[in-house]
Symmetry: C2
């Protein structure tokens, strides 16, 4: 068997080994169907079972109430940046509120500006996106059509630990990078969207969870593929959905249920994993400097700097000698980024932590 | 190993067995990368090689000139129905010409009507979509912004054998269901789009081939994901593309090049396969009645009726006893549909042909 390395990519990202092994075993012919999932009609009984189990797993894991629809769309979170204002801002004569805590929030707000008024009700720019706001810093518009936030910013490595309170205004969340990482107070959200390729599956499918009262607001004149109501009415089968990507989400959610035992368990594991790396940073006597403020630290993307860019390059390169890959930070923040989603095993974290300690010991004099 | 059946699904559809076996072998770890393609960052060297080979294979197979861009998008042909008029019709004060030969052409025209004037320059409705037009029946607008047609209609089973001549007006083709089935006069097209899930790969990726002069016409104010120019400028990597689906397209195009030997060879094979079924229809003494007129018959989707709906149901059911699946026609046409894309092996066609002959022999008295 081919060797596998530890993959700290920000997404597409590591998947659970047992998911990959199941997908491999059944790739040429899914038992009972005589064909690969890659070849299966989206109107077939075989695929019906797949999409139904995927939805049921998500509903169980996230405790999704019956008045929410679960959709499987295409185009990534980026297309959601546009679908949101097309469905809920255009023509309303009401503002939309955007809480901006990093790169993805900025992009979401930019697309919304094409369709109406966008209020940046909090923007972390002045702090270089090192933290998320406290509830009492949010000056929300009571007449806003929705409030949008990004629960975890992958590039900066900042994450909300609490769900913002938006009163009666529907709360919309780009949860691409911490979806399924912890239990959620689902009833406080109007709409959640998540590109699957971080915590939920491969690239090519975006999960959208939307409350029925928001569906009722969708105007009548949207292009079919951009209309949440049509997608919901057709249960994501208006046209051919990304069938194989949905199948992998089914396997990942099955793993979360059966092997991990649910979102409380994965949250505890994620906490433990992140803690190990943040401790290595905090106990490095300043050799490693975390980007995010401690109270805003991400459990998914740990970002930090070394004393010099040269040392950062050397760190990334030497790490590969330990089978630790994809640790280079995003160019806009620099430094190191370790993405440690649900599927990153504890062994990978321990290997990275040990390497951090050794690298520091060898280079601390250069601080 | 699990048994495989013959899958005549209209799409997602059968894939070459050697493609599935390669994907299976490398699913847990692609050699040289230490990870699954499902886990691979779209910015990594590993994926760069995949998308570059996919494009190079397509360029070689289709002889795509350098002044065309090859894009890998999401949302299927249905999102292209909208992107086309958003990019090239909206705000032009010019009409668009649509040649409508079946269900998909109707849908394409409907989305275009949201953005401007749509002229149905030929509509097969009066013939129940049994044929495609001759060149001399097309009354094209010389000032049209583009002419759109659907080269193969999967539901009705009608296909253009010649590329329409549109003079200086850019020709746009929905080639979803006969893409890569035969060589093309590429320089006569302005834009070709194809959902991959029939002839080119799995669901979840749409290939768009677009000429540079059309890219130059794209207006400035489109939503990012719906803007061909931004997608082209970023070489399909503005956001995370459907990486695994693109990888399967790479394997399929590699199979077409290396195992089949190019599009002339696959076209000859497709001709031979279709001929076997159409002969069984034509020589059935009226027991089987083809839907399409002989000069408009599809090489990809063979559609026919039996004497009664009850016999059609029995045909579909008994066929499964011979491992022949997904033969039920679309509800809008009824009867039987055998989709026989590139990857359907000759053995599957022969098995179906033999079953047709036997079924006819058992039931001819009921004609």
């Amino acid at each position: 068997m081919e060797k596998r390395i530890y993959n700290f990519s920000a997404g597409p990202a590591v998947l659970p080994l047992e998911v990959l092994e199941t997908a491999q075993r059944d790739l040429v012919a899914l038992p009972g169907t005589g064909m690969s999932v890659l070849e299966m009609s989206h109107r077939s009984k075989g695929f019906e079972q797949i999409i139904e189990e995927t939805e049921a797993n998500l509903r169980q894991l996230l405790q999704i109430p019956a008045n929410y629809q679960v959709l499987f769309l295409q185009g990534g979170a980026t297309l959601q940046f546009s679908m949101l204002p097309l469905n809920f801002l255009r023509g309303t004569n009401r503002p939309s509120d955007y809480i901006v805590t990093g790169t993805w929030g900025i992009k979401a707000a930019k697309e919304a500006q094409r369709e109406g008024e966008v209020c940046l009700v909090w923007d972390g720019k002045s702090t270089n996106y090192r933290r998320v706001p406290h509830q009492n810093e949010l000056k929300l518009n009571s007449e806003a059509t929705y409030v949008h936030f990004t629960s975890n910013e992958t590039i900066e490595g900042v994450e909300f630990s609490e769900t913002p309170n938006t009163g009666n205004v529907p709360l919309v969340c780009d949860m691409s990078s911490d979806f399924l990482a912890r239990p959620l107070p689902m009833e406080r959200y109007g709409l959640i969207y998540a590109g699957a390729q971080k915590n939920a599956g491969p690239a090519g499918v975006t999960v959208v969870i939307i409350r029925d009262d928001l569906l009722a607001r969708v105007p009548d004149n949207l292009h079919t593929m951009l209309d949440y109501r049509i997608q919901a009415k057709n249960k994501s089968l208006y046209n051919t959905p990304p069938t194989f990507s949905i199948y992998i989400v089914m396997l990942v959610t099955r793993w979360l249920k059966q092997t991990i035992g649910g979102l409380s368990n994965i949250a505890a594991l994620n906490q433990q994993k992140a803690q190990l790396l943040y401790e290595a940073i905090d106990q490095s006597d300043g050799f490693y400097r975390g980007h995010a403020q401690p109270d805003s630290r991400s459990m998914m993307n740990v970002t930090w700097r070394l004393p010099t860019p040269e040392l950062e390059q050397q760190f990334v390169k030497e790490a590969q000698g330990r089978d630790l890959y994809e640790l280079k930070g995003h160019r806009s923040v620099g430094g190191i980024r370790a993405s440690i989603y649900n599927a990153m095993p504890l062994a990978g974290i321990l290997a990275l932590r040990d390497f951090m300690l050794e690298f520091q010991a060898s280079h601390a004099e250069m601080k």
